[in-house]
C-alpha cells in the first residue's frame, strides 16, 4: 500500500533525477515441476544487482520462460525463493509485485488506444489524471511515439507496437523489467536499433532487466551478465566476454558465439597445458578446461577469428600449432572474409578481418593455419 502512494508522488516525471529505482533480484534454489512430471526448472539460483541486465539464454524448452513467469508471478515455484529488493515475493500475487513485463507478442490491449495502454498501469495504481497525462506523454516521448498516442495498437507497425509495450512496462517505474524474447518478431535491422535504444533507456532510467532470449548475439550485445540455461539449470553465468573467452563446457562454447571443434585424444597433460593428438597424427597445444589424463577423448575449441591463415609457401612461421589445409569456400562478409578450410576431412572456419591489402586466398589454395595455444580450449568430448 505504502508503495502505491510512493509511486504516485514520484509520478511527477521520468526526467526527474534518475534516483536508482531498479532493485536487485535473487533467485535461490528455485524449482518448478509441472503436473505432468516435467522438471521445467531445477534448483536454479541466480542474482541480478540493481541497474543491471541479465539475459537468460538457452534453447527453447530449457526453462528460461518458466523462470521468467515465476519471477512475474504467473507461475509458482514448487520450492525455493524469489527475492526482489530484499523482500521474498514468491507468494505475492502478480499485480502486487511492481514488475514490468514486455511479452513476446507485446500483449497490447487491442481495445485501448496507445495512450490508454500506457496509462493502464498508472490507473491501476490510482494516479491522479494530471499525473497520468504527463507520465504517459513522457514515457511515449522516451520511445519516440508521442505522435501515435490516439491510435489503436492494430494501426501500428510491429516495431511501434514493441515500443508501446516497452513504454507501458516502464511508465510506472517498476523495480524490475522482464522481457520475454521481445524482439523476436522484428526484422534484423530494426532489432539492432531497438537493442541500442533499449540499452540507452536502461542506462538512463537505471532499470534492472531480466531478458529472455535464444539469440546469443542479442544476449552478448545487451547483457551485463548472461546465464546459459539448459535442462532447467544454469550451466554457466557470467559477463559475456568471460563466457565467450572461457566457456565452462562444450555446450556453452557451442551455444555462445561461433566455434570450431576438433576431435582428438590427450597425449600429454601438464599444469594448465595439454598436448592433443588429432586424427591425422598432428599434435596441438591447448589449454584444458578441466584436468584430464592422457588417452582421454577431447574436443578442441577454436574461435574463427583466432585462426591465422598463411600461404603454404610463406616464409617464417611460428613452430608449434600449425595445421595444413586447403581453402574450400570463400565467403565475403564485407568487413571480413570467412574461409572454410578442409583439413583432411575435418572442417574449420576462419574469419580474417580486412585491413589494408590483406592477402586473399582462392578456393583450392593450400594454406597453413596457426593458432596460439591459449586460444585452443580443450573440453572432454561431449
Amino acid at each position: 500500500m505504502d508503495m502505491t502512494a510512493g509511486m504516485g508522488a514520484a509520478g511527477a516525471g521520468l526526467h526527474a533525477a534518475p534516483a536508482s529505482h531498479g532493485a536487485s533480484l535473487a533467485l535461490d534454489q528455485v524449482s518448478r515441476v509441472y503436473p505432468n512430471g516435467t522438471h521445467a526448472v531445477r534448483a536454479l539460483s541466480v542474482s541480478v544487482p540493481a541497474g543491471r541486465i541479465l539475459s537468460l539464454l538457452g534453447p527453447s524448452g530449457s526453462g528460461k520462460t518458466t523462470t521468467l513467469k515465476m519471477i512475474a508471478g504467473f507461475d509458482r515455484p514448487d520450492s525455493g525463493s524469489i527475492t526482489l529488493a530484499g523482500r521474498d515475493i514468491s507468494r505475492t500475487p502478480p499485480h502486487a509485485r511492481n514488475i514490468g513485463m514486455v511479452f513476446q507478442n507485446y500483449a497490447l490491449f487491442p481495445h485501448m488506444t496507445v495512450f490508454d495502454n500506457v496509462a493502464f498501469p498508472l490507473r491501476m495504481r490510482g494516479w491522479a489524471r494530471r499525473d497520468i497525462e504527463s507520465a504517459v506523454q513522457q514515457a511515449l516521448a522516451l520511445v519516440h511515439l508521442e505522435a501515435v498516442a490516439a491510435r489503436l495498437p492494430r494501426q501500428l507497425s510491429g516495431g511501434q507496437q514493441q515500443r508501446v509495450a516497452l513504454a507501458r512496462a516502464i511508465v510506472f517505474r517498476p523495480k524490475l523489467l522482464l522481457m520475454d524474447e521481445p524482439l523476436g518478431a522484428l526484422d534484423r535491422q530494426l532489432r539492432k536499433s531497438v537493442q541500442s535504444e533499449l540499452k540507452r533507456l536502461q542506462r538512463q532510467l537505471d532499470l534492472t532487466i531480466v531478458y529472455v532470449t535464444h539469440d546469443q548475439e542479442e544476449a552478448m550485445f545487451l547483457s551485463d551478465e548472461i546465464a546459459i540455461v539448459q535442462g532447467g539449470r544454469i550451466v554457466q553465468c557470467g559477463p559475456p566476454a568471460v563466457l565467450y573467452d572461457a566457456p565452462g563446457s562444450h555446450f556453452v562454447a557451442g551455444f555462445l558465439g561461433e566455434s570450431n571443434f576438433l576431435g582428438g585424444t590427450v597425449a600429454e597433460a601438464a599444469q594448465g597445458q595439454m598436448l592433443v593428438t588429432l586424427p591425422g597424427g598432428r599434435q596441438l597445444q591447448g589449454r584444458p578446461s578441466e584436468p584430464m589424463s592422457a588417452g582421454h577423448a577431447v574436443s578442441v575449441l577454436i574461435r574463427p577469428e583466432k585462426l591465422q591463415v598463411h600461404a603454404a609457401s610463406g616464409g617464417s612461421l611460428p613452430g608449434a600449432n600449425l595445421l595444413l589445409g586447403r581453402i574450400d569456400l570463400v565467403n565475403f562478409l564485407g568487413g571480413a572474409i570467412e574461409y572454410e578450410i578442409d583439413l583432411n576431412g575435418a572442417r574449420l572456419t576462419a574469419r580474417v578481418y580486412l585491413r589494408g591489402a590483406a592477402t586473399a586466398f582462392a578456393i583450392g589454395d593450400p594454406v597453413v593455419l596457426h593458432m596460439a595455444p591459449e586460444d585452443c580450449l580443450v573440453f572432454p568430448a561431449p
Binding site: 512475474a72 504467473f74 502478480p94 514488475i99 513485463m101 500483449a107 490491449f109 493502464f120 491501476m124 510506472f172
Partner: protein, 288 residues
C-alpha cells in the same frame, strides 16, 4: 491472384481456389432452396397483408386502432429482453469455464450442451410440465420434505415461462460465446495483472470488453428466437403470457383471417429486424 491472396490472408484456406471463376455457383443450391421455401412465401405473406381481403392498409389500421395488439407486442419484447439478459448472465460463466477447462472436460461439457437437441422443444416443454405440475416431481419432493403442505402452482406464471426459455435457449448462447471467448489472448490477462490490475479489474477492463462481441453474437441469436417463441409460452404460460407469435397462430388457425395474420407477421418481422440492427450497432460500438 495477388489481390485474392492478400484479401484472404487470414481466413481463406486456398485463395487461388476462391478466385476461380464460377466458384460462387457452389452457393446456388442453397439460394434456390431459400428462394423457394423462404423468400417467396414470406414475400407472398407480406403481400397478403396489403391485399387480403381487399387492397389497402385496413389491416394495419386495425393493428393501431386496437391497443391490445401493440400491448402483446410490447409484452413479447419484454419477455425476449428478460430471457436474453438472463441467458447471457447464466451462459457467460459457463462459456468462460469451457475456455479454461481441461480440453477433455471441455469436450464432454460441450457434448452435454448438445444433449437437449436430441429432444424437440415440444417434448422438453411437456417434460417441464410434468416436473412442475400439481402432481409433478417438484411438488412431490417439496411435500415429502415437508416444506409445503399443499401442492404449489408453478405452472402458468410468466417467471416459469422465462426460466423454461432460458433453459431451452442456453446452448444457442453458450456455443457462439464460447467460440468467441476462446480467441481472447491469455497473455493480455497476464499483462494486465502484471501491470497492477487485481483480478476484478482484469475482468472489468480487459476480459469483459474483449468478450462483448461474442456475448452479443450469442445474445442476438437468443433474442431472435425469443421474439418468435411460441410453444413454451403457450404451454407453460398463463393468460397474460400471450406472445405475438401466439396471436399470429390464432389468426391463421382459429380466425382464418389471413390478411390480419399477415399484417401481424410483418410487424413481428419488422420488430425483429429492428432489434437485430440495434444490437449490431451496439456491437459495432464496442468492437470499434
Amino acid at each position: 491472384m495477388m489481390e485474392a491472396a492478400l484479401a484472404g490472408g487470414t481466413a481463406r484456406p486456398n485463395p487461388s481456389l476462391a478466385s476461380r471463376p464460377g466458384v460462387g455457383l457452389l452457393a446456388l443450391p442453397l439460394l434456390i432452396l431459400l428462394a423457394a421455401i423462404y423468400v417467396c412465401p414470406v414475400g407472398a405473406l407480406l403481400a397478403d397483408s396489403f391485399t387480403d381481403p381487399v387492397a389497402g392498409l385496413q389491416q394495419y389500421r386495425r393493428l393501431i386502432d386496437h391497443p391490445v395488439y401493440l400491448e402483446v407486442l410490447a409484452r413479447t419484447f419484454r419477455l425476449a429482453l428478460v430471457v436474453t439478459v438472463a441467458t447471457a448472465a447464466s451462459g457467460f460463466p459457463l462459456a468462460y469455464y469451457l475456455t479454461i477447462a481441461r480440453p477433455a472436460v471441455a469436450r464432454i461439457a460441450i457434448g452435454l450442451l448438445f444433449v437437449p437437441f436430441w429432444a424437440s422443444t415440444v417434448v422438453r416443454t411437456y417434460a417441464l410440465m410434468v416436473i412442475l405440475g400439481r402432481t409433478g416431481v417438484l411438488n412431490g419432493a417439496l411435500l415429502w420434505a415437508g416444506i409445503i403442505s399443499r401442492p404449489a402452482q408453478f405452472l402458468f406464471h410468466t417467471a416459469t415461462v422465462q426460466v423454461a426459455m432460458v433453459q431451452i435457449l442456453l446452448p444457442f448462447f453458450v456455443l457462439p460465446a464460447y467460440g468467441a471467448l476462446r480467441t481472447i489472448d491469455g497473455s493480455l490477462l497476464q499483462a494486465a495483472e502484471g501491470l497492477g490490475a487485481p483480478p476484478w479489474q482484469v475482468f472489468r477492463r480487459i476480459y469483459l470488453p474483449l468478450s462483448l462481441p461474442g456475448l452479443f453474437a450469442g445474445a442476438l441469436i437468443v433474442f431472435v428466437f425469443c421474439f418468435g417463441f411460441f410453444i413454451t409460452p403457450t404451454l407453460l404460460g398463463g393468460r397474460r403470457d400471450v406472445t405475438i407469435a401466439m396471436l399470429i397462430m390464432a389468426q391463421f388457425e382459429g380466425q382464418l383471417d389471413w390478411g390480419f395474420g399477415a399484417a401481424l407477421s410483418t410487424l413481428l418481422l419488422a420488430c425483429t429486424l429492428a432489434g437485430v440492427l440495434a444490437m449490431l450497432r451496439l456491437v459495432g460500438k464496442f468492437v470499434g
